[in-house]
């Protein structure tokens, strides 16, 4: 198949899947079959594309030109490939998980759920493959809108409130700030196409560059920098598969991915370094890393704690982007993948606990470890990878982030990173420890509780194994990250 066809298929297949899901809505088994087939095909597609991309082939597709000079066009570069690979591979795992989860809890409106999910994946692919800021912005907004029904899925007052916060912060920041940033870029540089070395160098007065970068930094609300992070905890009212894939992988990574794209291909690393564009802004990321971790420690609701952990981890990527050195960018790009595999494992485990025991609070988990060893084992692996300990993949991204900081010589930031790792230990590890070693409050032994359904276990085993494998074989992601950072 030609490269353009492959690219188009990756975007269209999930949409076709959504249509198929709606058409098969009355027959749950057929409907889930459609989901699984589509997701597997997408996974195979992204792997083929990644293989051929690393082999040196060019992937580009031009669709139309809505505004003279500004096109809807796609082109794959290393960073987008990395993001698409992560989203594509984890969709099939999450689909398997979601089927067990949604059936296990007997949720309503499952057809709408699976259909909206597929549309969201298509939008995420669109974000990943965009050739310019306009196309990216289009899919960025569509991603927000298509995930809204998933957040408000249960239809309770709490879900609607969460949905409202979700929509108003994400749309508000993107229209109020992000769009303005894009417009100013277009106005100043006459181009919003992603280019190696950026489009702004030589066109923009460096004195204003920091302000423009701030518009992007805060305008890309999906990156969840404080003070625009509230939508992420609010989105936790969604069913767990949504939190797992969308609010630990696709949506939030679309945010930091966009930030990296803007950093590398609009500003250009050299422009940022030589003019010290991000010197002050980097502290916003540093502060978010610490404050979000501190807030996470105080949360007893497991999903809320994981959400704040995500806020904190996303700022690692933002921080890496703002370092703008080669190692910093590699670390940031790799963290997109490493954090994705680890955090999705944690959410899978949280969902498994909920399906099996109906418990949402950490304080209720004492002694559950014996009854659900696989779940808590997976949780432990995910937690260790997030903390950044070997032998798990999370170590590599933190390693390169640390290197990046050393290169710039801002040692306080290194201290922030260290402190944050300690905080990660403090808010993640007590969870499996409680489960395995503490006795439950009433002293009962939970003999009646069993592990969650098999599909859920399977998904967790896959992602936690991946966390370990990524320590030994980080190569595909490292290669892509290295390419994105401009390395040989």
């Amino acid at each position: 198949m030609s490269t353009a066809t492959l690219l188009l298929l990756t975007l269209l297949l999930p949409l076709l899947g959504a249509v198929g899901i709606i058409a098969a809505g009355r027959y749950p088994n057929v409907r889930e079959g459609v989901t699984l087939v589509t997701a597997s095909l997408v996974a195979i597609l992204v792997v083929i594309i990644a293989y051929r991309f690393l082999g040196g082939e060019e992937f580009a597709l031009f669709v139309s030109e809505p505004i003279p000079g500004i096109a809807i066009a796609f082109r794959i570069e290393a960073l987008g490939m990395l993001f698409a690979l992560v989203a594509g591979l984890l969709w099939i795992v999450t689909s398997i998980y979601a089927i067990g989860y949604m059936r296990g809890l007997n949720e309503d409106n499952q057809t709408r759920f699976f259909a909206a999910f597929a549309v969201a994946i298509s939008c995420a692919m669109g974000v990943a493959f965009s050739d310019n800021l306009f196309t990216l912005f289009l899919f960025y907004e569509l991603l927000t809108l298509s995930t809204y029904p998933l957040v408000a899925h249960s239809g309770t007052a709490e879900a609607k409130r969460g949905g409202r916060i979700y929509l108003s912060i994400l749309l508000g920041t993107s229209i109020g700030l992000f769009l303005l940033g894009i417009l100013i870029t277009w106005f100043v540089a006459g181009s919003v196409t992603f280019q190696d070395g950026g489009v702004l160098a030589g066109k923009l007065d460096p004195a204003w560059a920091g302000l423009l970068y701030a518009l992007f930094l805060f305008g890309i609300g999906k990156a969840a920098l404080m003070p625009f992070h509230r939508w992420l905890p609010a989105a936790m009212v969604a069913p767990t598969p949504v939190s797992a894939l969308l609010h630990a992988v696709a949506v939030v990574k679309a945010g930091v991915f966009t930030l990296l794209k803007v950093t590398i291909y609009i500003f250009g690393g050299d422009f940022i370094l030589s003019n010290d564009v991000t010197g002050g802004l980097i502290w916003v990321a540093a502060a978010t890393i610490l404050f979000a971790s501190l807030i996470a420690m105080g949360k007893d609701n497991l999903k809320a704690r994981l959400a704040y952990s995500t806020v904190s981890q996303l700022s690692y990527i933002a921080l890496g982007a703002m370092l703008a050195t080669k190692s910093g960018l590699i670390g940031a790009s790799m963290h997109i993948a490493m954090h994705a595999f680890a955090k999705i494992t944690l959410f899978f485990a949280a969902g498994a606990i909920y399906v099996a025991t109906n418990k949402k609070l950490i304080s209720e988990l004492n002694g559950l470890g014996r009854a659900m060893p696989i779940t808590f084992g997976a949780f432990l692996i995910g937690a260790l990878s997030i903390i950044g300990l070997p032998p798990f993949g999370g170590m590599w991204s933190k390693w390169y982030l640390g290197l990046g900081i050393v290169e710039t010589g801002q040692l306080i930031l290194l201290a922030v990173l260290m402190l944050s790792s300690l905080l990660n230990v403090a808010y993640l590890l007590p969870i499996p420890i409680r489960a395995f070693f503490s006795k439950s409050a009433g002293g009962e032994q939970y003999t009646e509780i069993k592990e969650a359904p098999k599909t859920i276990l399977l998904a967790m085993i896959v992602t936690s194994t991946a966390c370990a494998l990524l320590f030994f074989y980080p190569d595909p992601f490292y290669q892509l990250a290295n390419l994105a950072a401009g390395g040989p």
């Binding site: 809505p66 809807i72 809108l145 108003s168 229209i175 109020g176 303005l180 417009l183």
Partner: protein, 491 residues
């Protein structure tokens, strides 16, 4: 036929109007109106095509050469506006059949269509003519018939709204006439092209400035430019649904067209920036966008909410004009077209709700989104376009407006435009929340989806909103062409 194209566009509806009035009750008057509007839409399309390819059309009424006789002078600008007016009318009429039968007493239906055609002819006349006094005549034709149309609304408040509009509209028309008189006294001509030649010589005179001010304020009243908008919310709220759709997407657009025509073609270039007018436009635009959007948030009647939103949207166009740059005027014309699409779609969808439940207050429509999914979908997409989400026509408008503002380094305007989008998100969010997230009330549980005849025109406009958001070549091309034709020079 080709030669008389421009005249036919006005004459056909003008002749058909009395015919519709004397036809028997039943569907015949509607059918006549449908035929007339479709024919006019076709003609307007041909006219735009001819103008784009062969240049300006100049038609001498009765063979009298201008400046003595009346000249119809068509360039891209008015050909475009004429297409918008007749296109919207042609899409509205299939919709009108059921909606009018529901809202207007049977014996008034022939008169309704007669007045509708008169209003239609008046609006087309305003766009076609190149004679400033002839323009006044058509203005009166369209205004008087629209007062009558608004007063036909099903609630008693329609009468007071029509009366309010009558007073304000007459004031506006009188102001316009005084202005025309003053300018005529100094130049001795009423032909626009002739005026454009003579005005530079006398543009320093106090009389000309006074005349200019009278004309501007007169049309600002018709345009409902903030703070002269007070008639608009009532008129839109209480008018029959079809009339709200039609007036919201055409009447204000035509008024805006006259405004740019006089500002940039009739008066010499640079006149507007030399007077306080440009700044006043920007000021009124900013105040209008902010205050009307905030007002919209607090409305409990959906039609009134959308009416306030219209006032805000007119503010966007005023901003574009106030920049007095090629980019600004292009943006204003793009928004003129796009706003016709989005408000047309939204008012049609609300009309469909009124058709089913006879009301459109927030408490009446609770939970209807599930009952009427297609109508609801139209409101969602129309709302997204109003907010300016990419992929919709509204985004293209916002894009060009902000660029025009950046070009002027008008930072306050930039912030205001984007804030307006956020406020639109809040008020459209309120409507969507009432429709979809409130539980269905007991009275609404039996409500069915609106009939196809209402849905199809609505969705034609909805799809147009998406189409022109993804392919703006036509809109932007015509608007840029129009800005050139108006004679706005790039700064």
């Amino acid at each position: 036929m080709q030669d008389h194209l421009s005249l036919l566009l006005v004459v056909i509806p003008l002749v058909a109007a009395p015919v519709a009035a004397v036809l028997p009750q039943g569907r015949l008057p509607w059918f006549v109106a449908l035929m007339v509007t479709s024919a006019c839409a076709t003609l307007a399309g041909m006219q735009l095509w001819a103008v784009v390819h062969d240049g300006v059309i100049s038609y001498e009424l009765g063979g009298w050469a201008p400046p003595w006789g009346i000249e119809y002078r068509i360039d891209v600008v008015n050909a475009f506006v004429a297409l918008i007016v007749s296109g919207i009318a042609a899409i509205t009429l299939p919709y009108a059949l059921l909606s009018v039968e529901k809202e207007i007493p049977d014996h008034q239906i022939p008169l309704f269509y007669s007045a509708f055609l008169l209003c239609f002819a008046g609006l087309l006349g305003i766009t076609q003519t190149g004679d400033i006094f002839n323009l006044f005549v058509f203005l009166e034709i369209s205004s008087l018939s629209s007062y009558a149309l608004i007063s036909l609304g099903r609630r008693r408040q329609a009468l007071t709204s029509a009366y309010q509009y009558l007073i304000m509209g007459t004031l506006g028309a009188t102001f316009f006439l005084i202005g025309v008189g003053l300018i005529y006294a100094q130049t001795g001509t009423l032909n626009m092209m002739d005026l454009a030649e003579r005005l530079p010589g006398v543009s320093g005179l106090k009389t000309i400035h006074t005349g200019f001010a009278f004309i501007m304020i007169g049309f600002a009243l018709k345009l409902a430019l903030f703070p002269l908008h007070l008639w608009l919310p009532n008129a839109y709220t209480y008018a029959p649904s079809v009339i709200t759709v039609f007036l919201a997407s055409t009447a204000t657009k035509v008024a805006l067209y006259v405004m740019v025509r006089i500002l940039f073609t009739v008066f010499p270039n640079g006149f507007v920036t030399a007077t306080p007018a440009a700044d006043l436009f920007v000021l009124s635009g900013i105040a209008g966008i902010l205050s009307a959007s905030v007002y919209a948030i607090y409305q409990v009647d959906v039609k009134r909410l959308l009416a306030y939103s219209s006032v805000a949207q007119i503010g966007y166009m005023a901003l574009g004009i106030g920049f007095a740059s090629a980019m600004g005027v292009t943006a204003a014309i793009i928004h003129l077209f796009n706003h016709a699409l989005m408000k047309g779609a939204l008012f049609m969808a609300v009309g469909a709700i009124i058709y089913r439940i006879g009301a459109c207050r927030m408490e009446n429509i609770e939970g209807l989104g599930r009952q009427m999914p297609w109508t609801f979908g139209a409101i969602v997409i129309g709302g997204l376009s109003l907010i300016g989400v990419p992929g919709t026509a509204g985004f293209i408008s916002k894009w060009y407006l902000v660029l025009a503002a950046l070009e002027q380094q008008a930072w306050i305007s930039v912030v205001v435009i984007l804030t307006g989008s956020l406020l639109a998100m809040v008020y459209m969010g309120k409507v969507i929340e009432a429709l979809y997230f409130k539980p269905v009330t007991e009275t609404n549980i039996v409500v069915k989806e609106a009939p196809m005849l209402l849905l199809t025109p609505t969705w034609i406009l909805v799809i147009a909103n998406i189409y022109f958001g993804l392919d703006a070549e036509f809109t932007v091309g015509v608007a840029e062409h129009a800005a050139r034709a108006l004679g706005v020079v790039a700064k």
